[in-house]
Structures are given as structure tokens and as C-alpha cells.
């Protein structure tokens, strides 16, 4: 057991446990904050996997963007009288059974498969590589993503924007 392993387990436990809290706690706010931890943990795992830039993006976009959005969502869709906003659950039994089987299968898939692995190299910074690949091989996808963001913008605005005419209805 070397440091790498210890750090991995640390991040793995953080990720998994907080993710578990995310999906089980009845308090929405707890849940949201646990998600924050999960995302951090994942970011750490990225680092372990030598994806430094990705780890940063993870934190910036996810934590800085998506999570905030989600929190806004929570706040805007609940009467904020206290931080203790609870939510109910449904389908517990089928979900538990289904997830259990699914996890079993996944476990089997992940462990039984003879993945092609190579000795890992010393991680080096990936920013240059990523940058190059983005505007060459994946340029089309890059542009498509741009379009996608535009659409998301229009869409989100279109939905969320208050319409005077419609308000009157």
C-alpha cells in the first residue's frame, strides 16, 4: 500500500459515501452539499488519473456552475423557511433491487473483464495536448458543443423568461 493507494481510497471513500448521502438523505440541502463533496472526490480521482486540467474543469464547472445552479433550483422551488427542506422517496424497493442487481452486474463486468492495461506513465501536464486535440481532431465536436451551448442558452432563456402575455393568463 503506497501513498497512491491511500490517496485513492481516501478520495474513493469520500466520493462514494457522499454520493450515498446525496441519494439517501431526506434533506435536500444536505444532499446538495454532499454532492459538492462527491464532485470534489471525483476531481481528486481525476488528479490521480493524471488528468490535471480535467480536475480543474471539474471543480470550476461542476462546483462553480452546475452545483450552484442546482442549489438555485432547490431554493427557487421551495418555500425557504428553513434550511431543513425535506423530500419524500418512492419506489424504494424496486429501486434497491434494481440497483443491487445492476451493481452486481457492473461489478462483474468491471472485475471479470480482462482490460488491456499498460504500465502507467508518469503523468505530465495535459493542457497542451488537450488544446491541440480540441482544435484538430475534435474540432467538429468542439464547434458542435458551441452550438449546443447556444441552443441551451436560447432554450433555457425561452423557458425561464417571464412572459407578460402568458403571465396574464
Amino acid at each position: 500500500m503506497n501513498y497512491f493507494d491511500i490517496i485513492f481510497y481516501l478520495f474513493a471513500i469520500i466520493t462514494v459515501v457522499s454520493a450515498f448521502i446525496v441519494v439517501t438523505t431526506r434533506n435536500i440541502v444536505y444532499s446538495a452539499y454532499s454532492l459538492l463533496l462527491t464532485l470534489f472526490g471525483i476531481s481528486g480521482i481525476y488528479v490521480l488519473l493524471g488528468a490535471d486540467f480535467l480536475a480543474v474543469v471539474q471543480i470550476m464547472v461542476y462546483v462553480g456552475g452546475i452545483l450552484i445552479l442546482l442549489l438555485f433550483g432547490v431554493m427557487l422551488t421551495n418555500k425557504i423557511t428553513s434550511v431543513d427542506i425535506r423530500t419524500g422517496t418512492i419506489h424504494l424497493l424496486p429501486a434497491a433491487v434494481g440497483s443491487g442487481i445492476l451493481l452486481g452486474i457492473l461489478w462483474a463486468v468491471m472485475t471479470w473483464t480482462d482490460w488491456k492495461t499498460y504500465d502507467t506513465q508518469i503523468p505530465s501536464t495535459t493542457i497542451f495536448g488537450l488544446g491541440k486535440i480540441l482544435i484538430t481532431n475534435y474540432v467538429l465536436i468542439f464547434e458542435l458543443l458551441a452550438l449546443l451551448l447556444l441552443i441551451a442558452l436560447i432554450g433555457a432563456a425561452s423557458i425561464a423568461r417571464r412572459e407578460e402575455t402568458e403571465e396574464n393568463n
Binding site: 474513493a12 446538495a32 480535467l54 419506489h91 429501486a95 434497491a96 440497483s99 502507467t120 486535440i133
Partner: protein, 102 residues
């Protein structure tokens, strides 16, 4: 046992499963969205881990990058829709929104 590819994959598997579980069980639409984020992240871990251990180059990371961006876009739209639902139904409990059925 040394930490290797499988360990990362198992983490991702657990996240994936938890994501599904969350989507299915939570009443609150926002919570459901959180489950979706977990799934996406699980896939991301896969991509990065495979790329790393399989020596596939940077492809995996780029893909993960795209997915993060996509997730952001999706979250934006999703929350807009949830807000709209809230305006219409005055709650965001997914299981109570079942006017369309038969």
C-alpha cells in the same frame, strides 16, 4: 492489492448505481437531476481511467471535458424546465406530475 484500473471502475460503477437509485427514488425533481449528474460523472471516470490505463492517449480526457460541458448545458435547461414546472404545478414532485397517462 495494488490500486489499478479496476478500482477506479468500481468507484464509477458505484456512482452509476447510486445515480440510478437516486433518479428512481427521489421525489424532488432537483434531486433527480443530481442523480443524473452522478451518472455522467461515473461515465467520465470511466473515460479518464480507461484512457489512462489503456494508454489511449488524451481522447478520454477530451471526451470527459465535452461531457462536463454538456452536463452544464443540460443542467441549465433542466433547471429552467423545473422552474417552469414549479410555476405550473406549484411543486416539483416528479411523482405527482402524472396528468399524462393511461
Amino acid at each position: 492489492m495494488h490500486v489499478g484500473l479496476t478500482h477506479f471502475l468500481i468507484v464509477s460503477a458505484i456512482l452509476f448505481t447510486l445515480g440510478i437509485y437516486g433518479i428512481v427514488t427521489r421525489k424532488n425533481a432537483v434531486m433527480v437531476l443530481m442523480g443524473i449528474e452522478l451518472i455522467l460523472n461515473a461515465a467520465n471516470i470511466n473515460f479518464v481511467a480507461f484512457a489512462r490505463y489503456g494508454n489511449f492517449g488524451l481522447g478520454g480526457q477530451v471526451i470527459a471535458l465535452f461531457i462536463i460541458i454538456l452536463a452544464a448545458a443540460e443542467a441549465a435547461i433542466a433547471l429552467a424546465i423545473v422552474l417552469n414546472i414549479y410555476k405550473t404545478f406549484s411543486n416539483v414532485n416528479v411523482d405527482e406530475i402524472d396528468k399524462l397517462k393511461e
